[in-house]
Symmetry: C2
Subunit: 308 residues, 2 copies
């Protein structure tokens, strides 16, 4: 799957991923109205609204991008109905040949991580049958529990040609509270990064490992260091756009081959029509605004890489 | 909710929680057969089997215990159908007046943690209505992202009288890989523990905080230290029984008032009938074996506390 991701990034020339993190207030009124007319102002109505919203954005952007990253929290907020919309979104994006990065940030003790890995990336045995539960291509994983929490994911990845991105340095303002603490003079995120590189050696693709890392766009100096600590690791970079990251900040997340990083934008793409720059599209044409925002993001990052 | 938990612990005299972490191989054959007869060997069949298994265990133990802790990974492995069984389990346990600790180990950047908090502990707005998605009473939360990831949970807890347990020192063998790293001579778990105590001051119940901590039974010396670092923090203690923790190891997780900790057992209770000690019950009477295992666990821990 890391090979597919790399090859799709080369083909689209777009090292970006669209974060499908729908809040109801991003969903234009006409879509909400239609969903509520059918299902009422219920959890099922909300789930229908975000699903239709996602579908329209996938339909107008899938030819430009290698991957989407649905953030499962935005679906879990609507309970079981929301989780059903998550699954529909995963399946639909897959039908468009997009790589699916499930932003689930799971991670637990060994036997429990194994269950998460099976549910999101693998197949579960029921009697004499096997089934894929959510069937994303990649999942994000939290490293706080150490190797026991990661290895079950790697085992499932090996079996099913899937991958993970392990949180190393997150994009949020307080990420330094624990991640930046110095251990023998070295920040914890760097120690986690070294471990990610080691875990990655267990499951290498052609050029990069199936074990990737999450490093926020909002900390470019740390990104530069982590790029060197984890040379064969694909870096998933959240925090571009709405959270403040810019293309020029991100050049050092990429290797000299122009690969090695994939930059996520969520709000900046899916709620583009709400920004002044794309207001001309109007709420009716929100998906066209998203397409334009994708084009502009690719241009911003490509230019920055060319000028590095 | 921390007041309810404390009062139920006093009333039952049982500082324990039953972990509802069903693996299919824990579920006796007669239950699996019945579920598959109705739904086939499908995800729906598996979900029905684990739900019937849980229901029987709740029915035979609810009068002895204050709380249950369903581990959502064990349900997510069966995809959407599994998540539906999780929700049924939460609702049913609640109908028996049990406190529900959703072992979900969520945690993300601020806006995303807010969505998780809303989905699991709060209510989401859909048009002019509000709905509780999963509606557990407590959720477990991962601290790796710092205060941004925790505060949205605390906000929702304040609004809806709910609580959280933050991972401090986990029970698994490799938990020390990052958690034990020394920062200025102090292990990271202790720094996280200090922060949990601070977060907890923001939302105090009568005796204890709504912000609890997870500290594994498998590290009793660290539990002793952390008890002192977080005097007003309820400690959720996994790792008893199948993972190796014993009552005598756990006395220092409790305060002098005999409160302040709640010990979880999952496999040791729900799959008791598979152990030699309870084999006499047989698979048909698996739930009675679970009840006996609960009685024995309460005895083990109470005796240890009395003899401290």
């Amino acid at each position: 799957m890391i090979n597919k991701l790399t090859s799709k990034i080369k083909k689209t020339n777009a090292p970006i991923v669209v974060g499908l993190d729908p809040m109801l207030n991003y969903v234009p009124e006409h879509i909400q109205k239609k969903a509520y007319a059918e299902y009422g102002e219920t959890l099922a109505g909300a789930a229908e609204a975000i699903w239709q919203f996602n579908k329209a954005i996938i339909d107008t952007t899938y030819d430009l991008i290698p991957a989407v990253k649905p953030q499962i929290a935005m679906y879990e907020q609507f309970g079981v109905e929301g989780v059903m919309a998550y699954k529909k979104t995963v399946d639909y994006a897959k039908s468009k040949d997009l790589v699916i990065i499930g932003d689930v940030k799971r991670g637990d003790i060994g036997s429990t991580s194994a269950a998460y890995a099976v549910g999101h990336l693998g197949k579960v045995q029921v009697g004499s049958n096997t089934y894929a539960g959510f069937d994303e291509d990649f999942a994000t994983v939290n490293p706080y529990l150490g190797s026991d929490g990661i290895n079950p994911f790697i085992d499932v990845c090996k079996e099913h040609n899937k991958g993970i991105f392990v949180l190393v340095k997150t994009s949020n303002p307080s990420s330094g509270e624990f991640q930046d603490r110095l251990v023998d003079g070295k920040p914890l995120y760097e120690i986690v990064g070294e471990q990610v590189a080691k875990w990655g050696e267990q499951h290498m693709g052609d050029e990069y490992s199936y074990v990737g890392a999450v490093v926020g766009a909002t900390y470019p100096e740390m990104g530069k260091v982590l790029r060197k600590v984890m040379p064969k690791t694909y870096i998933l970079v959240p925090g571009y756009g709405a959270q403040g990251g810019k293309g020029a900040d991100l050049v050092h997340y990429f290797n000299e081959d122009g690969l090695g990083a994939i930059v996520n934008s969520s709000r900046g793409i899916i709620a583009a029509y709400k920004q002044e720059a794309y207001a001309k599209f109007g709420a009716e044409n929100f998906a066209d605004a998203s397409r334009q925002a994708v084009v502009d993001m690719i241009e911003d990052i490509s230019t920055a890489i060319q000028n590095r």
